[in-house]
Symmetry: C2
Subunit: 334 residues, 2 copies
């Protein structure tokens, strides 16, 4: 399942097309073991020995040493592990059947608990992560300071150890060049806008992640409440931008989007950047009722067209396979 398809919760689309996913992550460390950034092979083993009995009965374990380079990258593309974990062969990840929970061990921190969903119910994701956290807490001693809170490898995670993020499809704000301004105003609240895979992936398919920058000096509830407030605000801005685009450029937009559809439908070779942009445009056109395609799951497509996802399936030319894949999924209504 993990290597053959996108996660089930991605396949089941959420209610709001602008929201692709929400994610909560808790960073935790054991208090008597060196942190992974300075740990030895033996330290990694100690962590594993603590965690394995707690998690292995409930989750599938994947040890990085048993996983090929392509498979590691696929797990990153599915947001089940971080790029950091791919670099540590002593690391491992525990994944739920539905692929909506992943617990990384020996990543930048000893334990990173992550929960994912296709809705905006971050509260529920947090509670789900917290339950796992408490289960582990009963068996280990976390590195915790009365004043600072949970201790982490990187000071940006200190305190709550909580990172909550929402992945949004914001094509209209991007087309109207509103993203820098949005990013600026969000930063003032201690939140960040990044691309689909964090820094450096900005603009791929007009997909953006909004997450808290600050983990210290705010309660978990405040972080979650502020994120939900900001995300609702951004969704409204995107909706207004879509309406503005539609009102001012209807025919030109329809031309642009239909051309993108035509290219997706007939190209023989298509790279990731172009495919992402054109899929985003067709999705926007679909959401605006400008193109009568059969419903298609944009998030699912954005995962399936990623390089490692394709490399795992085929030795064919990546751009050739990507074009064929899109053509199988995208169809106009007759």
């Amino acid at each position: 399942m993990i290597y053959n398809d996108v996660s089930q919760w991605v396949k089941n689309e959420g209610e709001e097309p602008i929201v692709l996913s929400s994610r909560v992550r808790l960073a935790r460390n054991l208090d008597h073991v060196l942190f992974p950034t300075v740990a030895s092979a033996n330290d990694f083993k100690v962590v594993q020995d603590y965690v394995h009995p707690i998690l292995s009965s409930q989750y599938d374990e994947l040890s990085m040493k048993d996983v090929t380079a392509v498979e590691r990258l696929m797990l990153v593309e599915k947001h089940l592990i971080s790029p950091t974990l791919t670099k540590n062969s002593e690391g491992s990840v525990y994944i739920s059947k539905e692929e909506d929970v992943s617990i990384m061990v020996n990543e930048e921190d000893h334990i990173r608990i992550q929960t994912l969903s296709n809705t905006l119910d971050i509260e529920a994701l947090y509670n789900q992560a917290l339950a796992i956290d408490q289960e582990i807490d009963q068996e280990v001693n976390y590195a915790f300071d009365e004043k600072l809170g949970y201790l982490t490898s990187c000071p940006t995670n200190l305190g709550t150890g909580l990172r909550a993020s929402v992945m949004l499809h914001l094509p209209a704000l991007a087309m109207l060049d509103k993203m820098p301004q949005l990013n600026y105003s969000i930063q003032r609240f201690g939140f960040l806008v990044r691309g689909i895979f964090g820094e450096g992936s900005r603009d791929l398919g007009h997909v953006y992640q909004i997450s808290n920058q600050v983990t210290l000096g705010k309660t978990e509830q405040d972080i979650i409440d502020d994120l939900i407030y900001i995300v609702h605000n951004v969704i409204n801005q995107e909706k207004e931008a879509r309406q503005a685009l539609y009102n001012h450029y209807e025919v030109q937009l329809e031309d642009q989007f239909l051309r993108s559809y035509g290219i997706l439908k007939y190209s023989k070779l298509i790279d990731l950047k172009e495919a992402s942009q054109r899929l985003s445009e067709v999705k926007l056109a679909y959401d605006l009722g400008m193109i009568e395609t059969k419903p298609f799951n944009f998030h699912e497509m954005m995962v399936k067209i990623q390089p490692a996802f394709i490399r795992y399936k085929t030795n064919e030319n990546e751009n050739l396979y990507r074009a064929q894949l899109i053509q199988q999924h995208l169809t106009m209504k007759q």
Copy 2:
């Protein structure tokens, strides 16, 4: 017919897809009337009075004064009159039912006899034009000099008054950037390469006209023989260029051509230049067996997408109508 559709001989495609059309033109003037470049309204009338009785029973007459600006441009787009004739309201044209003969009166010269076809049989076109020439010659006195031959307004037409030209679809030579070199070598033989509508239209749909530059000091037979020799040579070069493209860039070409098909099939707005280029690419792909479209007549499409042709049909946005028109004509084989 003239304003509602393309000429019948264009609809009946020729045998060689690279050859769109051949054309022969004879320039003639009456010897006792001022040439059109310096003529008065009365001189124009004198010419008309001579020519009308000879031609009006065999051909449909269109006087420029009865023809709207859009209709004049359409006649140019159909190659039935020259841009020069559109500027003289005292001018007129006699056109055969099949639109394969057009005789312009009071253009740059008093009489210009033109014959057109979709084959390379320039000999037959010349004989057809000559028969009309002789019919007129029986009733009028041509301006003719024993030493110089037929006298014309512009010295470039002096002598035989013959211009023979062939319109070719040369996408592979154009894509390989061979046209400047080809033009250079052809000029050395006294021939010229121009775009589909003469100078300034270069590159529109990769359609090129090859015609003789010299009308003096060569017999009609030499001009025709040389043209046929050169055209056969160019056709062979184009065929070699197509094979070279196919051998070296098969997948990339297929991608480029299929994208052009997709854009033609789905764009909402398309301008003349882009439509011409993409139709040319799809036609090349069809000729190379790379795209399985239903057969389509490239020459016919190149006429139908011209601005005046569209303006006559509709008051809608030109680019909108052009896109719809192409979508009606272009279909993939199922």
